[in-house]
């Protein structure tokens, strides 16, 4: 019984938050998504996100936006319109070093995660 309680406690501590299908790891600046349950296509998109989207900021703001439905800086709804708008915003930033294919991949991933969160 003690072992069960200890294992359950360790599992609880390792997984910070969870929405239906979306798990988040870490806290603060190290907050990120757990792609272990992502479909293969979304895992590939997440590989792009965790490489390209952390050049200028951490994934914390992305996690907050997806899990709460509110963009943390502007306070505006973070929905499918917002994911594309932010994707375009990052595409047009001169130093983002992202092309349209990479932006599309991250936008598709964010839209899928929003659908998962809202299930």
């Amino acid at each position: 019984m003690k072992k069960v309680v200890i294992v359950a406690g360790m599992l609880f501590l390792s997984c910070s938050i969870a929405h239906a299908g979306i798990k988040v790891l870490g806290k603060g600046d190290s907050m990120r998504f757990d792609p272990s349950d992502f479909p293969p296509a979304m895992k590939a998109n997440y590989d792009i996100m965790k490489t390209k989207c952390v050049k200028c900021h951490t994934l914390e703001r992305t996690v907050i936006a997806i899990t709460t439905g509110i963009a943390p800086i502007s306070g505006q709804p973070f929905d499918r319109n917002a994911t594309k708008a932010y994707g375009i915003k990052m595409l047009r930033k001169p130093d983002s070093n992202m092309n349209k294919q990479e932006v599309k991949a991250t936008v598709d991933l964010m839209n899928w995660m929003l659908d998962e969160v809202n299930k």
Partner: protein
Amino acid sequence: MHHRATVLVLLVLAFVLPLVYAETAHAIPAFSRQYKTECSTCHTIYPELNEYGQAFQKNGYVYTIKPKAEAKTTPAKGEAGQVQAASSEKNEGLLLAGIPELLPVSFTATQSIAYNEHGPGGDNWNFDTRSLMLQAGGSFRELAGFYLTYNLFSHAENSTQDESGKIDELFVMWRRLFTSPINLKFGKFEPKLSLWKKNDNILPTPLATSAFTVGDFSLQTPQDALEANAVLADRIFVAAGIVDVKGQNDKNGYGHVSVKFGGADMLGNEPEIDLEKESLWDYLTLSLALYGYVGRNAQPAGSTFRNDFYRVGGDMDLLYKRVRLRFSGVTGRDTNPQYTEPGTVQHPLLLAAEAQYLFGSPINVIGLFRYEHVDSGTGTVNRYIPAVAYIPLQNVKLVLEYIHEDGPEADASSITGFNNTVLLDVSYSF
């Protein structure tokens, strides 16, 4: 003594207050603190504005004109939900009072090393040009925006003007009068003429078209004014205002109109881009402006020695990926800029062109070249300024510029007709 005590109190507040309210250990200027975001959200290289910073400025220092969203889902348990829940809990008393939660104050310090081959008295080196400026800005419950710049200390070698202990700008802007797009701005501020304010620059040397002074007037000089401005159809900005000049009943007047093609609109909304196809306009942004100013100054105030003048000018700002081009031109007429009897009419003509290239991370450097043609109406100077700006952190900037001037007005004491200056400038904000 009083001035030093004021500076000391403000510096102590600036260091103590962020420690009281900040959620992290990072020290960041006023708007960054308020919106918990980095400088690059609104700036290319501080203080030069990107299009979102320009939209933020036009919007009266409010991030968006749309009302904030309510969370559609219950915040999740765990750190993300706790962070979001904490950030949504505001002090009700301060909210009702319209007082910003964080004291919206920041500082910018600049220090320069200059070498001028024609320095006065053979003193070619100057290490003691420096300044410290206090800035404050924000909004009161998004009904009114406000902005203050105060020169705590300013010392420039070979300058007879001491700007220390003076308000540079102090204004309030009533946002969106009666739900219309019209904003009403009142106080002391740079009249909206050029596309760029004097500090909307990478180089410490402002554009000649804005900085050039004839008589008492330059485009960038803050003035006591009342201005109405508005963003129309998301991509047109219009402004008009009247300026009160001390010692005379006549008011000066000005107007500005600008239009933006491509890129985010003037409210900061992203353009529609097809992610499946490539188009030149995906990355191209073009802004055009026209402006005019009509005025009269008397020296001394109230005397019969008057200068009636006007200025007409235009600006263009072109941005494509890492390249930015700026063009500026202004001309005008002054009937008596020297306040003499009889007066001497002058027709100034100023042109400026600047090209920037962002090398970006990891080297975080911008290369820049500026050309200026200054015809004061009594003589001409051509100025060539190559420069490099390095940004090790978003709030720290180092600029190395070489200023070559030639023409009859370049250096009155030199027979060579040209002047060379090397300037190393360090600026940092906190």
